[in-house]
């Protein structure tokens, strides 16, 4: 006997050790976590070499099992990227999936059960095994499947699995029976949820689809297994595009192939490309339908830095309709003075002519001899309004001017338009000369 192993050798790493049912060897842990742990790579190369040469062996499975056990011992952390445990299990299980004499080999089925622990969809693995008939004679399979179903709340299905195992006389029958009784006791104490889905534990496949799944079902049917024909892995139902240049190895294709975790998740893995020059596709739904819409601008309120500041001015009045007005404008508006026109321009020398100005492009032929009195121009209207809007006690100056207007009444209304519109003398002249 060698000297007892110091617990302190792997004390610092104990949180990283995955517990196993059978426990771990302290010596191997100390070897792994000890100061003088050797490099794992040469040993791994050795195993890989042995696997390559194992095709001629009587029991090639044993080499895989050794490899798996070595990995478990060497990497007590479990399935990590360094340990490569899950890919190894996938390789080992896929390797012998079509080897008949291993189908009910307890070591091979145990390898599957180990893999189930790390699989992302354990139930699919179980149904896959059922479809291939692997472990169908072993109580181990039924116990593990039923246990997984029971843990996940499918008690009716677990019951179904136990029944199937007992029907198949799975070995060892006594242990399976004992487990089943224990399960029944647990169910009596804690009855299954009535709302549990009623789909069968081993889903049946419609015969019409059997051709699609080819050999898997054919072998299942030919085997005459009492358990019902099972479904192919769900992923197979979808036609997944596979790059043609990927070489199909015999172990990793065909009807019995479940696929590795990596293959199952390949749609979720983004291809690594350089980021330079990449553009993010933006959803067209996010684009505003009417970008030219005028944006509502709220009246700016001063930012309150520390104190609550209130402007003691009626901002609604100052920014009526989004236009800025000053207080005088607000006051003038409230008195009806804003924008009002006054025709109190000091008397300007009037034009001597009595002609009215008509646009040269006017379509009317000969002009009327007397000017028409109903010219609805804005200036004319304003003049008329102003006559009525004169204050009663108007200024002398204005009334005088009004009289002036009345006196030279040989002018017509159009003269006042001339007054309002800022026609300077030159353009006036131009008009007359063209006439």
């Amino acid at each position: 006997m060698s000297a007892p192993v110091e617990f302190a050798a792997f004390e610092h790493a104990k949180e990283n050790i995955e517990p196993t049912r059978e426990g771990r060897s302290a010596a191997s842990l100390a070897a792994v976590f000890g100061n003088n742990s050797s490099d794992a790579e040469p040993e791994r190369q050795e195993f890989e070499q042995r696997i390559k040469d194992s095709d001629l062996d009587d029991d090639p499975l044993q080499i895989w099992l050794d490899y798996i056990n070595w990995t478990k011992d060497r990497y007590p952390q479990g399935a990590t990227s360094q340990s490569n445990l899950v890919p190894l299990l996938e390789r080992a299980t896929a390797k012998f999936v079509n080897v008949p004499h291993y189908k009910n080999d307890v070591r091979y089925v145990r390898t599957w059960m180990t893999y189930v622990k790390y699989a992302d969809t354990p139930r699919e693995v179980f149904t896959h095994l059922a479809s291939l008939g692997i472990g169908s004679q072993l109580a181990l399979y039924y116990e593990d499947y039923a246990s997984w179903l029971e843990t996940n709340g499918y008690k009716n299905k677990a019951n179904e699995v136990y029944q199937a195992g007992l029907d198949n006389n799975a070995h060892p029958v006594e242990r399976l029976q004992r487990r089943y009784h224990q399960f029944c006791e647990r169910c009596a104490a804690n009855p299954p949820d009535p709302s549990e889905s009623t789909s069968p534990a081993f889903p049946t496949v419609r015969p019409a689809l059997s051709s699609k799944f080819g050999g898997a079902l054919a072998s299942g049917g030919a085997g005459g297994a009492t358990e019902p024909a099972t479904a192919a892995p769900r992923k197979k139902k979808l036609s997944v595009f596979v790059d043609e240049e990927i070489p199909d190895t015999s172990a990793s294709s065909g009807p019995g192939y479940l696929g590795t975790n990596a293959v199952r998740r390949k749609e979720n893995v983004m291809q690594a490309t350089p980021w330079a020059g990449e553009t993010m596709p933006s959803s067209s739904a996010l684009k505003p339908a009417h970008p030219k819409l005028t944006v509502f601008r709220e009246v700016q309120v001063p930012k309150s830095d520390k104190k609550n500041e209130r402007i003691s001015i009626d901002m609604d009045l100052l920014y009526d309709g989004g236009i800025e007005f000053c207080l005088e404008e607000v006051y003038a508006k409230s008195r009806g003075l804003y924008g009002k026109k006054y025709n109190a321009r000091p008397a300007t020398p009037k034009a001597k002519t009595t002609t009215i100005m008509v646009k040269d492009s006017s379509p009317t032929g000969p002009r009327p001899a007397t000017p028409t009195m109903t010219l609805h121009t804005k200036g004319a209207m304003d003049d008329i309004y102003d006559m009525f809007n004169q204050p009663l006690g108007g200024q002398k100056h204005d009334t005088k001017q009004q009289n002036d207007d009345d006196n030279d009444d040989d002018d017509d209304d159009d003269d006042d338009i001339k007054d309002d519109s800022d026609l300077d003398n030159e353009s006036d002249q131009g008009m007359h000369s063209s006439y």
Partner: protein, 366 residues
């Protein structure tokens, strides 16, 4: 009231500079004489003659009144003339012989003190907001400038009915002031135009108000190289026209803010309605919609004296020609709309005899 003002002192000031005993009281202003025969509606503008002790008062009652004001602040009406609509601005000619006014009747009128006759000299397409007599051109020809809400600045030779020159403004004119060769027009949307009167037909510089809110008033200081701008948001900006000076000397400060309840941590902000510069000292007084007056010295960035809220908004202020009398109008400035106007609000002007502590510029701190 003094407690109110004491708290107001903390919210207004030149960037936290130390304050001297600058707080005035209501009692200090209580004896300020009021105007004899005041207007019948709100006062819109007041202006002292640069040559004699005359004050012109423009009012919303459509009249311009001219008073003689004694050195003690006693006033006597001497003349009155009418507009067709409320008058918004009044200004004296440089020789003190004429009073110009403009108002909501879109007319620019001039009253001759000699002949006691008013005459319309110009016409806008909308209300005339501001009138100022300026000495323009190389020969300092006296002409009258008027700016209105028709977005026009007209120069009027008093003898011809048409403007001698016109400048298109970017927006409606809100305020205008002149000093020496500088004419400054402030418009809506915070535009400010600076005009060099040696070339009055062109805009020398287009500026933006240094304040973020609507411009309420601009006022040029006597040196004529810049102006103070007041906004509706209790803030006052000092802006120089020259770029390098503007870079080094421009600043703005908060004023006319009141804390009615110091425990509540709330500040009421009032519009700066008027800014008047002392003609000799170059110090100035701001008046606000809160009804308070504050005297400032821009060069030392110091507050000289503050007076508490006098119970009525102050729409206009003016110094007389030697700065011994400070006139401030008291009437409603419409800052809270129609519903706040009532008959108890006076329409008057009061005269304050200025003290050295209020207007004397402090020696610049080194």
């Amino acid at each position: 009231m003094s407690s109110v003002f004491g708290s107001a002192r903390t919210t207004s000031g030149f960037g936290g500079l130390t304050q001297t005993s600058s707080a005035g009281t209501v009692q200090d202003m209580a004896n300020d004489p009021t105007l004899a025969n005041p207007p019948e509606d709100s006062v819109s503008d007041i202006c002292f003659s640069p040559q004699a002790e005359f004050l012109s008062v423009a009012s919303w009652d459509k009249k311009v009144r001219i008073y003689e004001v004694s050195p003690q602040g006693q006033s006597r009406g001497v003349a009155l003339y009418d507009h067709q609509a409320p008058v918004l601005s009044t200004h004296w000619s440089l020789d003190g012989t004429k009073v110009a006014s403009g108002g909501c009747d879109n007319a620019v009128r001039v009253f001759d003190m000699q002949s006691q006759q008013a005459q319309q000299v110009g016409q806008h397409e909308s209300s005339v907001r501001c009138v100022r007599f300026v000495a323009a051109g190389p020969s300092d020809t006296p002409i009258l400038a008027s700016a209105g809400w028709d977005k026009k600045l007209h120069y009027w030779d008093l003898r011809t009915p048409n403007p001698v020159s016109t400048i298109a403004l970017p927006e409606r004119a809100y305020s205008m002031d002149t000093s020496k060769q500088l004419l400054v027009v402030a418009t809506a949307e915070r535009h400010i135009l600076a005009i060099n009167l040696s070339n009055p037909g062109a805009v020398a510089k287009t500026l933006q108000s240094s304040l973020k809110f609507q411009t309420r008033v601009v006022s040029c200081w006597p040196a004529g190289d810049g102006f103070a701008v007041g906004s509706i948001e209790g803030r006052c900006g000092i802006q120089y026209v020259d770029d390098t000076q503007a870079k080094n000397k421009n600043f703005s400060f908060k004023c006319h803010r009141q804390t009615p309840n110091p425990s509540k941590n709330e500040v009421d902000i009032y519009a700066v309605n008027a800014i008047s510069f002392h003609p000799q000292e170059g110090t100035f007084c701001t008046a606000g919609a809160d009804g308070s007056l504050t005297f400032w010295d821009k060069d030392s960035r110091h507050r000289l004296k503050g007076y508490p809220q006098l119970g009525c908004t102050i729409p206009a202020t003016a110094f007389n020609r030697d700065g011994s009398i400070f006139a401030y109008a008291q009437s409603y400035d419409w800052s809270k709309g129609h519903s706040y106007n009532n008959k108890d609000i006076p329409h008057t002007v009061r005269f304050h005899q200025t003290k050295a502590e209020e207007v004397k510029a402090k020696p610049k701190r080194r």
